[in-house]
Symmetry: C2
Subunit: 304 residues, 2 copies
């Protein structure tokens, strides 16, 4: 069982097609679900992919174009029909809060759970953290305010070397401090350095969700060497002019960004409906960044 997976619910762009759903991605971090964008059909796709509604507590919107938002009224209404309790938080701009609140008030005036809005701005910011992860925004360049999100697992506890801990008679109660990095001080004052008792913690995984956006080279520094970079690739280089004009990127630009920020792997998506053969995207990106994969609906990509 992977502890951090990226599930693709929709990787089409605005014009619908029978091949793709509009944008929706769900991160599963130790059975806590975090949704990024909520295109039409997201709730059906969650069911098809067996992602449990009661595990979804946070929805992060990149921007307020319909193909990233129109699944939200139905999903929020369904959570209430399912008698969902607790809190569901939507992270979006002030505008989104206003317009979504109006829709929900009309169509779902009584919810069984607390719907909370967390207002974000189109800047760089730590907007959320919990026990497992932090979420930062990155400003993108689209036809209206838009942000990307970087999800990072917090540093994990170090691994205790059981035999060494037993040899030095480290009490059970103290071991939780040891795995956080503390040295062990024996009753006679002897210090056993942490490095003798533990090994390095497991890797903390990181995922950057970058879309919709024009290609912005300087963004690479802000993203950094994430394990998995999702970068929108609406167009192929042959249609670079359309990409630039409409605030989108090409597969080659997505690959260039992956290369520049030192990502472990690149995941493509948000394909324009004009292309029938997606292998063209893969080929174009792999020439620049070989470790590229094509996103498709139903896919689950493990990070660790």
């Amino acid at each position: 069982m992977n502890q951090f997976t990226i599930n693709i619910l929709g990787c089409g762009s605005a014009k619908p097609s029978t091949r793709h759903y509009p944008s929706c991605t769900v991160l599963n971090v130790r059975e806590n679900l975090y949704m990024v964008d909520c295109g039409e059909g997201a709730q059906m796709q969650m069911q098809r992919q067996k992602l449990r509604f009661n595990r979804l507590n946070h929805i992060f919107l990149t921007h307020l174009h319909g193909d990233h938002v129109f699944g939200l009224p139905g999903l929020l209404s369904t959570l209430s029909l399912l008698k969902r309790e607790g809190t569901v938080t939507i992270h979006t701009f002030a505008d989104g809060i206003r317009v979504l609140r109006d829709i929900i008030r009309y169509f779902s005036p009584i919810l069984t759970y607390d719907l909370v809005f967390n207002e974000i701005s189109p800047g760089t910011d730590l907007i959320y953290e919990d026990r497992h992860i932090t979420v930062r925004t990155i400003p993108l360049k689209h036809r209206l305010p838009c942000v990307g999100y970087i999800f990072e697992e917090k540093q994990k506890p170090r691994h205790l070397i059981g035999q060494m801990a037993d040899f030095h008679q480290v009490p059970i109660a103290v071991r939780k401090d040891i795995i956080q990095g503390a040295d062990f001080i024996k009753s006679d004052g002897t210090v056993i350095p942490n490095s003798m008792l533990t090994t390095a913690p497991s890797h903390s995984a990181s995922y950057a969700h970058i879309g919709d956006t024009s290609f912005i080279p300087k963004m690479a520094d802000k993203i950094g060497p994430v394990d998995l970079l999702y970068h929108e690739s609406t167009y192929l280089t042959a249609d670079l002019h359309d990409a630039a004009g409409r605030g989108h990127s090409t597969a080659a630009q997505a690959a260039t960004m992956a290369e520049m920020c030192g990502a472990g792997q690149l995941l493509l998506g948000h394909y324009s409906s004009r292309y029938k053969d997606l292998s063209l995207f893969l080929n174009e990106a792999r020439e620049i960044f070989p470790n590229t994969i094509l996103g498709f609906e139903g896919m689950s990509v493990p990070l660790i």
Copy 2:
């Protein structure tokens, strides 16, 4: 090629399932499409069923519950992305006009076509007619204002008996009056009665779309002997209590209505997600009204 078909795009109820889409039906009358309700996913279903977006000019909403409406923002936005021209009319209550207008204004401020709202009231009324059909509303009884719709083909021209018309030397220019029922008056004043020149017109088909609603016996008179009655059947008789409490009907009640109004055929739909085996609906209805069919997504039911 049938000239009047009913296409089922979604026949589930509010709670989504992997088996059904929420409510959406598209009538195809001589390649003019009329949509009744627009649940989430309607635009994808239109594409799957090869129903052409540029043939859709009218959308009739039965009521303003999300599972009948949430596909509309995406569909209207898509029509504009496809550079649709002309006029698209949404028939709904004043409330619906207000809330939908706000959503469209925010997410699709510039449309390539004219979006027109026709305000209806929850009464009985002729709300629309064109060259081919008339549309009347029927008040239903649900948890909020709700109407059914009756679509009726206008009376068609009579069939000219070519040999008789030639024998009596009916001029070509006059024949259009003859097929509308006029007698032919020869130059010598002799009257050739229409019945000698024509045979009865083809049948004018009629379809009633009844849902969501409690069972209301007196509605039968208003519906009359339509060729095809769609009547919601959210529940089985075993759950009659839920049907009554939630403003819905059972399969047996739908069948009773079909029997009472003298419908030619009954089409069931709007099944609660609690039932896995839909044949139970069919069996329950057929005991009362044998000519019953189960609606399912992708189905196209010819009327004539």
